[in-house]
């Protein structure tokens, strides 16, 4: 987790409006290559929107997003190439239900990366093994548990050899007993030096893996620091209030 000064994601004064709703009101973040950033905040705070702006699933209203030295904008013809470098893991997994676990992982490698079917399949099997479910290669997503589906989704993203991984509340839709199996995969990934931006409320994961934690509310960054600073000695009242609410349970 050696955070260098080499910046891979640079978000400058980002605004995103959905009609009258202002999801982001001027957010600036920079993420160093190889670092792990955790974003927390109440629902509607704009944390998912920020994440989705980083791979242009949402197009910013104003401001700039730079990924690995390239500015993302609407006219960007090579947005698909940039996205291929950014893996994304969703809250609801979003596996392709008509394809087996293996095919889910093979498809984009083949048609986006241009790898041969054989090579893509080999990579897919390696990734399945890495997330600990190589025996489920030929099973359809509908027959997998939530935790297994999410691990296939992570394997699918990793198979593209991305430079960055974005996680949008990856454990929020999981039954409690399955959360650990997904977090373990994410922890390993962090140890290997993957650049990760993670929206999550898993404090344990944040403190074990993150270099930096960001608290967002109402479309703004309220406070940021190391996970220990933010979670144990928050400065802002809003941060304290939020933490007291999620730690009550």
């Amino acid at each position: 987790m050696s955070a260098t000064n080499d910046t891979i994601i640079e978000v400058k004064e980002l605004h995103k409006h959905f009609g009258k709703v202002k999801a982001l009101c001027g957010v600036s973040v920079s993420v160093a290559r190889g670092s792990v950033v955790v974003i927390v905040g109440p629902s509607g705070s704009g944390k998912s929107t920020l994440l989705r702006c980083i791979n242009h699933l949402e197009v910013e209203t104003a401001g700039e997003v730079w990924v690995d030295g390239q500015r993302l904008n609407e006219k960007n013809k090579n947005i698909n190439e940039i996205r291929a470098e950014i893996g994304m893991v969703f809250q609801l997994f979003n596996l392709f239900p008509h394809l087996t676990a293996l095919q889910n992982i093979v498809l984009a490698q083949h048609i986006v990366r241009g790898r041969s079917k054989e090579e893509a399949e080999q990579v897919a099997r390696q990734q399945l093994q890495r997330v600990g479910i190589s025996e489920k290669a030929d099973v359809y997503p509908g027959q997998l548990s939530g935790g297994q589906q999410q691990r296939v989704a992570i394997a699918r993203a990793l198979a593209m050899n991305p430079k960055i991984m974005l996680f949008d509340e990856p454990t929020s839709a999981l039954d409690p007993e399955m959360i650990k199996e997904v977090l373990d995969v994410m922890l390993d990934l962090a140890k290997e030096g993957m650049t990760m931006v993670v929206v999550t409320h898993e404090m344990g994961f944040a403190r074990a893996a993150a270099d930096r934690a960001i608290f967002m509310d109402q479309g703004l960054i309220v406070e940021e620091g190391t996970p220990d600073q933010l979670f144990i000695q928050p400065v802002q009242e809003r941060t304290k209030l939020f933490l007291s609410q999620i730690l009550k349970h």
Partner: protein
């Protein structure tokens, strides 16, 4: 089982069903009488057709049109599927021009009675279009014009089916595909359409049954399908009863067979989804 307050009103009905004293009545209740009745009518009609001389003559005459009916239905349906897929993609496209062309086509076609549309396409649109290509519209046979007219009509119906199918797939699928670097076209082709088409397969199959019935409209263009041939037979022999009974029985037999096929398809898809 908890009693839902809303359904409480129907409870009494449910009890009286359970209290039916005679088990035989219960079994009789479940018999699909309508199906037996339809089968009975069909068997009786087919028996008539092959035992009565006048019916058999009419049948042998009318059946000459079956080839035209089948070819017209199949080819118009095939073209309609292609038009429908393209226009259905247009309906959900973010391209303003494409989206509006698709919407225009669908609204215009659905706003005109099919019979009128068939006249219009056959006698105006096809002729004009042939003129644009430097051909003489009169050289295009009525059979072809009829197929084009039906295809244009049904293309609009199936476009709406394809649109509904595409929209039935959650946005998460498109997002996941795009986040892996797939283009919009790749995501459509490999992720959205395979799922969407599977979902609307029964609806598309029902359209085929409807197309078979509506192919009878091409008789107004003097295309010699079974309807037109039946009209000719009735007109020349004055055996209206024989001609039109056979015509109705032919359509009913074909559509019932196809509907059974659609039901089978639906059941298989349902099982497959689990």
């Amino acid at each position: 089982m908890a009693v839902d307050p809303v359904s409480r009103g129907t409870e009494r009905g449910a009890i009286s069903l359970e209290q039916r004293p005679d088990p035989l009545t219960g079994k009789l209740y479940a018999v699909p009488w309508w199906l037996l009745a339809v089968m009975g009518v069909l068997i009786w009609a087919w028996y008539f057709i092959f035992s009565e001389m006048s019916y058999r003559d009419a049948f042998e005459f009318i059946i000459q049109g079956i080839w035209i009916t089948v070819v017209t239905t199949l080819s118009a349906y095939g073209i309609a599927m292609v038009i429908g897929l393209v226009m259905g993609l247009g309906r959900v496209s973010r391209n303003v021009v494409f989206r509006n062309i698709a919407r225009f086509y669908v609204e215009v076609v659905r706003g005109i009675p099919m019979l009128v549309l068939i006249f219009y396409v056959a006698f105006v649109a096809v002729v004009d279009f042939a003129g644009l290509l430097g051909l003489d519209g009169r050289d295009i046979p009525m059979n072809i014009r009829a197929i084009i007219a039906l295809a244009i009509t049904y293309g609009a119906f199936s476009a709406e089916i394809f649109r509904a199918g595409i929209q039935s797939i959650g946005s998460g699928q498109m997002e996941a595909a795009r986040s892996l670097g797939m283009s919009y076209g790749q995501a459509m082709r490999y992720i959205i359409l395979p799922q969407a088409i599977r979902n609307v397969l029964p609806a598309l199959a029902n359209d085929f049954v409807a197309m078979l019935k509506d192919s009878s409209l091409v008789s107004v263009l003097a295309v010699r399908d079974i309807t037109q041939v039946a009209r000719l037979h009735a007109g020349s022999t004055f055996r209206f009863r024989e001609s039109y009974t056979i015509l109705a029985v032919l359509y009913l037999s074909m559509t019932l067979l196809l509907s059974a096929g659609v039901q089978l398809l639906e059941r298989r898809l349902h099982v497959g989804h689990k």
